[in-house]
């Protein structure tokens, strides 16, 4: 308890978690060829942004709720995005028999 009390997480801790999430998301996107994996990386990046909003709301303008509102929007957005993206992947799979994004280069210039 004391240890926990001693460890007062502040803004920077939260930002550090957020960076970790962002970096992990970017890394996932850059390395994964599986579309669903990339979607997961995107979710991580969105969550990093959501965490940032909540953290800044708590430590910079403690009386406001704007940050929480934005985070809620981000969660909704992420859900909607996942739905759309999965629909696209399904169609992609139907047409190309794979969900490897390296194969999806039809729009190459």
């Amino acid at each position: 308890m004391t240890m926990l009390a001693l460890f007062q997480p502040g803004l920077y801790h939260l930002l550090a978690v957020s960076i970790a999430l962002l970096t992990a998301g970017v890394a996932v996107i850059l390395t994964k060829r599986n579309a669903v994996g990339i979607l997961m990386g995107v979710e991580l990046i969105l969550n990093a942004a959501g965490l940032n909003f909540v953290a800044f709301n708590r430590y910079v303008w403690a009386n406001a709720v704007d940050g929480q509102m934005f985070t809620l929007f981000i969660i909704v957005l992420a859900a909607a995005e996942a739905a759309v993206a999965l629909a696209i992947f399904l169609n992609f799979y139907n047409n190309f028999d794979t969900i490897n994004v390296d194969q999806a280069d039809e729009l190459q210039g």
């Binding site: 994004v101 280069d105 190459q108 210039g109």
Partner: protein
């Protein structure tokens, strides 16, 4: 719209005469058109008979009109319908119509009669020709044109028919166009006539410029020039002090007559026109073409000023004497007659010019009969002699062709003007004599060198019987000089002899005490006098003088004498004549000159044809090197300019457009490498860009 011209109402007699003359004028045209379209298909060998019957109907109409006119005591009248509107002129219209006085009627009868006889003659003469039908078409059209001139109601209308006569004569003279002679002769006739017509148009133009549209008005009762006289304040006033332009206009119009009547400077076409078929010669030389010129001179008589009269007389005199000299030496029978025609036309022109108006026109009528007859006789001879026209091969033909010889003989006597005192049984005496009297009168008025006008006609009155007797003797008398030709000759067919005899008969009965030609023409003159034409010295006394002078005795007997001389000299061929040529000094030169037609053709060739050709050469040179050169330079320059602008367009304008396109393409090529279609690349680029942006933002914040 201008007010229409109001003309006097015609009386019933006049109306009848108008209709008759209308028919008489148009029948030949109808016949011509009919034979043109149906001749070869339908009428064929009957074309001649058809044309003759149309002409005969025309003659009957004219004769009836003349009868009505003289017996009914009908006044001269005019009739016109508007033809072509002329805006802005007081006349308002060009009128088409008919002017009728005694002269018109008399000439109508003469022309239709002679034309009918020539048509009949042509049936015989043209038989077997491959364009038999066409010939009658032309001949009728020719007659129609002449009738149009005679009935013309104004100068403009007259000019239209005047040109038609020129055209149809061209077609007729060049009827045998396969041969070179007729080709050139018809061209010559046409061109010579155009030269005269230019004068006519100049004269007409002067009148038009001075008097305006009044010149275009149809003739009124007093003749074609009433309006002009009225404009100038009455005829007596004009002639007391004639304006210069009137003299020039008169001479200009007379120049048209010079062309048509083949007077001195433009006379060379008429003898060449002999190349046409003989019926054409007989009608051209008598009733139609050459008569048109004299007729015109008679019609413009009221506006001829004294100076113009002198000009007319000089032209007439020169033609008269010159042509008579040439007629003496020619050996071609038709050429003798052609120069005789020229000479007689000279008489007529001199007659009109000197004021012997009646006699000049009377001579026109009598001459028409006997000259037409002479030509038809010569045509018969030529046709029978296998187209040998040279009298040197004739001789003694009277035995073979007695009727032709008879007709030729009568006409020879007529043209010679045989008479006894003031009486004769031949018409030629009366008409020619009157002209000599007129010129005597004129010479007397002029005095001094004017006596040339007396001596010229008198000398020619001696030459005429001589050359006519010569041609008669060489053709019909003596021994045959070409036995082969003589053996083949026989009397011409009835269709040719008949007209000859009728014409010879008319040459006799045209004397004033049988047929009223002279009387009718005199009435025209009286109406001229009544209208104030009084400036010709002694005009109205002339007729009286005719009976009170001893001169006719002299000329009448002179004719007889010279015929005797002619026959004596040439009865036995050319022997005596050649003897004379050797013995009499100077005669040889004159003979050579006359034989070469006084070198007029050469003169015209050198001074007109050669000079024209030379001038044309110069013009051609200028055209080729000057005008064409300029054009070529301009062309080259334009070509150079075009090449320059073409280059500019290709290189600069197109270059700009292509450059834009090329740079766009290169830009696209460069940029497409950034769109490889791999998500990871996009994402890494996104983050690299984000990092760069962040670093940039941080630098900004730090500063």
């Amino acid at each position: 719209m201008h007010a229409m011209l109001t003309l006097a109402e015609l009386t019933s007699d006049q109306e009848l005469i108008r209709k008759l003359l209308f028919c008489a004028t148009l029948l030949p045209l109808v016949s011509s058109i009919f034979t043109l379209f149906l001749g070869t298909k339908w009428l064929k060998k009957q074309t001649g008979q058809f044309a003759v019957s149309a002409m005969a109907m025309s003659f009957v109409c004219a004769l009836f009109a003349a009868f009505k006119f003289t017996t009914g005591d009908v006044e001269p009248f005019t009739w016109a319908i508007p033809w072509i509107p002329i805006p802005g002129r007081e006349a308002g219209y060009l009128y088409l119509g008919l002017f009728c006085d005694q002269l018109t009627v008399a000439l109508m009868v003469m022309v239709t009669l002679i034309s009918t006889l020539v048509h009949i003659y042509s049936i015989g003469y043209m038989e077997g020709d491959k364009r038999y039908e066409r010939f009658f078409c032309y001949l009728s059209a020719f007659t129609f044109s002449m009738l149009g001139i005679v009935t013309a109601n104004g100068l403009m209308q007259l000019f239209v028919f005047w040109e038609l006569v020129g055209l149809t004569s061209y077609l007729l003279i060049g009827f045998w166009f396969e041969k070179k002679g007729p080709q050139q002769a018809c061209k010559k006739a046409f061109v010579m006539n155009r030269v005269g017509d230019t004068g006519f148009l100049i004269g007409f133009g002067i009148l038009f410029a001075q008097l305006g549209g009044k010149v275009l008005l149809p003739a009124t009762d007093g003749g074609m020039f009433d309006a002009i006289a009225a404009e100038l304040g009455g005829k007596a006033e004009i002639m007391a002090n004639p304006p210069m332009w009137l003299t020039i206009a008169g001479i200009g119009l007379f120049f048209g007559a010079i062309g048509k009547s083949a007077q001195f400077p433009l006379h060379t076409w008429l003898p060449d026109a002999m190349e046409g078929p003989t019926p054409v010669s007989s009608i051209v030389h008598s009733a139609t073409m050459v008569a048109a010129g004299v007729y015109l001179t008679a019609r413009i008589f009221p506006i001829l000023t004294p100076a113009a009269h002198l000009f007319v007389c000089i032209i007439g005199l020169i033609t008269l004497v010159m042509a008579a000299c040439m007629a003496v030496v020619m050996t071609d029978i038709k050429r003798v007659l052609a120069y005789s025609t020229l000479s007689q036309l000279g008489y007529m022109i001199l007659g009109v010019g000197s004021g012997a108006y009646i006699f000049a026109l009377f001579h026109l009528v009598t001459h028409a009969f006997f000259k037409c007859c002479l030509f038809q006789c010569s045509g018969s001879v030529i046709n029978m002699a296998h187209h040998q026209q040279d009298m040197r091969y004739y001789g003694g033909l009277a035995k073979k062709m007695p009727l032709t010889a008879l007709a030729y003989g009568i006409c020879t006597l007529t043209i010679s003007g045989i008479g006894f005192g003031s009486w004769s049984f031949l018409s030629g005496f009366y008409s020619k004599d009157g002209i000599i009297l007129g010129s005597y009168n004129y010479a007397h008025e002029l005095g001094g060198w004017g006596s040339l006008f007396l001596w010229g006609p008198i000398i020619v009155a001696y030459i005429t019987p001589f050359y006519m007797a010569r041609s008669f003797a060489l053709t019909f008398l003596g021994k045959p000089r070409d036995q082969h030709l003589y053996d083949h000759v026989k009397e011409a067919p009835k269709t040719m002899v008949g007209p000859q005899l009728v014409l010879a008969l008319f040459a006799i009965i045209s004397v004033p005490w049988i047929l009223p030609w002279e009387h009718m023409i005199e009435m025209t003159q009286q109406s001229l006098v009544a209208n104030g034409v009084t400036w010709i010295p002694g005009l109205h006394e002339l007729h009286e003088a005719h009976h009170g002078i001893a001169a006719p005795l002299l000329f009448g007997l002179a004719g007889l004498l010279m015929i005797g001389v002619g026959i004596w000299m040439y009865k036995d061929g050319f022997g005596k004549a050649e003897f004379l040529l050797k013995k009499v000094p100077g005669l040889k030169i004159l003979h050579t000159w006359a034989l070469n037609k006084f070198y007029f053709d050469h003169l015209y060739d050198i001074f007109i044809v050669k000079m024209t050709k030379c001038f044309a050469g110069i013009c051609s040179f200028i055209d080729k090197w000057g005008v064409d050169g300029l054009v070529n330079v301009v062309g080259l320059w334009t070509k150079g300019l075009a090449r320059f602008t073409g280059g500019f367009d290709n290189k600069v304008v197109d270059g700009l457009v292509n450059g834009a396109a090329n740079s766009a393409r290169a830009g696209g090529q460069a940029l497409r490498t950034t769109q490889p279609g791999r998500i990871r690349v996009y994402v890494s680029l996104l983050f690299v860009g984000l990092i760069i942006a962040l670093m940039f933002a941080l630098t900004l914040v730090a500063n």
